[in-house]
């Protein structure tokens, strides 16, 4: 039986006779892959960061299509909101926003693309044998915060606490690494005094 979705595309609800992909998935995958390619190829690191944020947004949209609503929001907040801002902040701090990377030799690029292409070919060839499996009808409420919170606080309680410890140690490590040693601190003080 036929019906129209909100994009006006007629599709059957009987599955597997049509192999055409849904429009949403196609557009989202297109955006994801293009912006991921731009992350890798862009010379300017700030452009890379912005393209990576676009990639994270489209991956969040994929999560919503996959019924993982809470993951979509967390992905936006943690990745696009926190981690990428940290990257951008470090880029600005180190004043690397201009195109500072030396041109790589062609040989290096060829070697890298051969290596990555081999991985791609091997993985797709391995998955080719797995056969075609159609996604089942979506099950409701799995990805909502009610269900995820219950699972997190019962089955995954110990890993949850351990990840808290991991966070604390990472925070302490980052602060320790980022702290200046005494000598350079005195230098900064000297400079400040001179400026004043």
């Amino acid at each position: 039986m036929y019906r129209k979705d909100k994009f006006g595309i007629i599709k059957t609800s009987k599955m597997s006779e049509i192999s055409s992909l849904p429009l949403q998935f196609l557009i989202l995958s297109f955006i994801t892959i293009l912006s991921a390619l731009y992350v890798v190829t862009s010379k300017n690191p700030v452009h890379s960061v912005l393209a990576l944020i676009l990639t994270f947004f489209s991956i969040s949209a994929h999560y919503i299509l996959l019924n993982a609503q809470f993951l979509a929001i967390v992905n936006l907040m943690v990745y696009a909101g926190a981690i990428m801002v940290l990257f951008l902040f470090v880029l600005m701090l180190l004043n690397l926003s201009k195109e500072s990377e030396p041109i790589k030799s062609n040989l290096w690029g060829i070697a890298a693309s051969i290596a990555a292409g081999m991985v791609l070919i091997t993985l797709t060839a391995a998955f080719q044998k797995s056969g075609i499996a159609v996604m089942p009808a979506p099950s409701e409420g799995i990805g909502l915060v009610k269900n995820l919170g219950r699972v997190l606080m019962t089955e995954y309680l110990v890993p949850f606490e351990l990840s808290g410890i991991l966070f604390i140690s990472a925070m302490v490590g980052a602060v320790l690494l980022g702290k200046r040693d005494k000598n350079s601190e005195e230098l900064v003080d000297l400079n400040n005094n001179n400026n004043a």
């Binding site: 994270f56 993982a68 997190l152 980052a174 690494l177």
Partner: protein, 108 residues
């Protein structure tokens, strides 16, 4: 919206995240700027996250074990980004460069 799944196969998600992973791998091998290297690692982690979420949906797992793994991967990625960027700032302070091809003092 959710009737998208009537035409989708799990293999589409597998291929999508394989492509994303390969792009990230290519970036790690190709780029020299250490910050871009870290971003490519984030890209690879995200492709794995996408695949975990797809398989959670595919298996119809009521406990959402795959999504739990995505959470913990996000935790590890956040910690990794913080420590990696701190190391990077320290390296920049000592060498005035973030180019990984200059960081070869351990070779000698």
């Amino acid at each position: 919206m959710l009737n998208v799944f009537h035409n989708l196969e799990i293999s589409h998600y597998i291929y999508l995240s394989t492509v994303l992973f390969s792009i990230g791998l290519f970036g790690v091998l190709f780029r020299r700027n250490a910050i871009v290297l870290l971003m490519c690692i984030e890209l690879m982690l995200n492709s794995v996250n996408l695949l975990l979420a797809a398989f959670t949906e595919y298996m119809g797992d009521a406990n959402a074990n795959g999504q739990m793994f995505v959470f913990f991967i996000m935790v590890v990625a956040a910690a990794e980004a913080a420590v990696g960027l701190a190391i990077l700032v320290m390296v920049y302070r000592n060498t005035r460069k973030t180019d990984v091809s200059f960081l070869d003092q351990l070779k000698d």
